[in-house]
Symmetry: none
Subunit: 219 residues, 2 copies
DNA sequence: TCCTTTCCTGAAAGAAACCTTAAAACAGCT
DNA sequence: AGCTGTTTTAAGGTTTCTTTCAGGAAAGGA
């Protein structure tokens, strides 16, 4: 498992690198945005960790360019206090996760592992889970026509099945930016998606975990 | 929102405290490093403000000890020295922000608010103790579904197993602030958690230490 | 031992989170 | 502009969690 870590604070970078290597990862370290981008575009990594504040080219820019070039490596963004508000727009731009500084290395490791073990075929048009087949090109779930928002939501669940997904996450990822979405948007869509699952006679269902979120499960 | 402010200059301390309280914060004041550390380690604050020059124990030391003990409360450092190097070394040690004296109270208030509303990293790593596995991602304990409050309480115990945890601590940490909780809340939940542990057939149990609190133990 | 305090526990009331439905607002077409 | 399908809003109903209450059990002190 090979990881690219772009970070200019050498002190931190070395510490984290050491920790990740202890976990059996191979870690490439880059201390500025330009080199970081170049490495990231090589598309050989299993996961890319980007600090936001970087010399020459910001982490946000790297992420944007990666996705433009259709490099779909999982990305985790790191940020310090002042950049915190941008969390949502990062998820929007295709980051897979986000971690505020300071963080525990153990937590970064946990998140990297979570990203790496999740199914690879994410941006390919078909995602499957159990008896479900989501065809993003045609916007159908097992043949049933979906709306744009339905596709986005179902994608989130199918990308990480059996995993809790919070309303905040969905709002940030799908309604984006200033997150001025309401919980009820989601409740409303969940309701419709459940109807759909029933119609399809899928074994999978969306379970609610009160106070925390939802998860797609077939247990 | 509860704030700890460790400052030996009484004049300044009182003024700042007053201002913060006007903003609706609850403020605990400590005028020396030792007491400051003790309070900080209680881990019930939403933010800790540390002067650096303190009698008995410096702010830097308090910060270091906090992070050692894995207390991740946001910390703002105050100091008369405005040199860049000190700033950096504090941020390295895990401070979240830094303010040079003299400062305007409004500025401090603004920074505290910024820190507090910052989205917390949700710790997704599993916590284990003996035969127990708390999966915070899915809100389960050895597979059993938990409610939000149950997760919070069990987290406290599993973070510090074999350690006495007082009701006051739990109330402050989970029900927050002004002690608007009743002891019986906890007794009630402890009861349910014990049932759960039995159901799981765990060797661990929650022992009562009369008059003082509870602890998670497997002895 | 008896009395007081503290704690436990189950059941019921209350509160909060969530679900569902239908209608209004909106956006993209022709 | 009018039509169509999608998204948002709103409201009331439902479920589940949290708090409250009350009676009983255990612990400790006199």
């Amino acid at each position: 498992m090979r990881i690219l870590y772009v970070e200019d604070a050498t002190f931190l970078a070395e510490a984290v690198k050491h920790n990740l290597e202890k976990q059996g990862f191979t870690v490439d370290l880059t201390n500025n945005g330009e080199d970081g981008l170049e490495n990231a575009l090589s598309d050989i990594y299993d996961c890319v960790v980007l600090d936001i504040m970087l010399p020459k080219l910001s982490g946000t820019d790297i992420l944007k360019r990666m996705r433009e070039k259709n490099v779909q490596t999982p990305v985790i963004m790191l940020s310090a206090l002042s950049e915190v508000e941008t969390k949502i727009s990062h998820l929007d731009h295709g980051a897979d996760d986000y971690l505020a500084k300071p963080f525990k290395t153990a937590e970064l490791v946990a998140r990297i592992k979570a990203l790496i073990r999740r199914p690879k075929n994410i941006d390919i048009s078909d995602i499957t889970y159990g008896d479900l087949v989501l065809d993003k090109t045609n916007a159908t779930l097992n043949g049933e026509q979906l709306t744009a928002k339905e596709v986005e939501i179902i994608t989130e669940f199918m990308k990480s099945p059996e995993t809790l997904i919070s309303k905040e996450h969905l709002l940030a990822k799908i309604w984006g930016e200033d997150g001025f979405g309401e919980d009820n948007y989601i409740e409303s869509y969940i309701s419709r998606i459940r109807k759909l699952l029933k119609k399809i006679h899928s074994k999978a269902r969306i379970a609610t975990i009160r106070g925390l979120g939802y998860k797609l499960t077939s247990k």
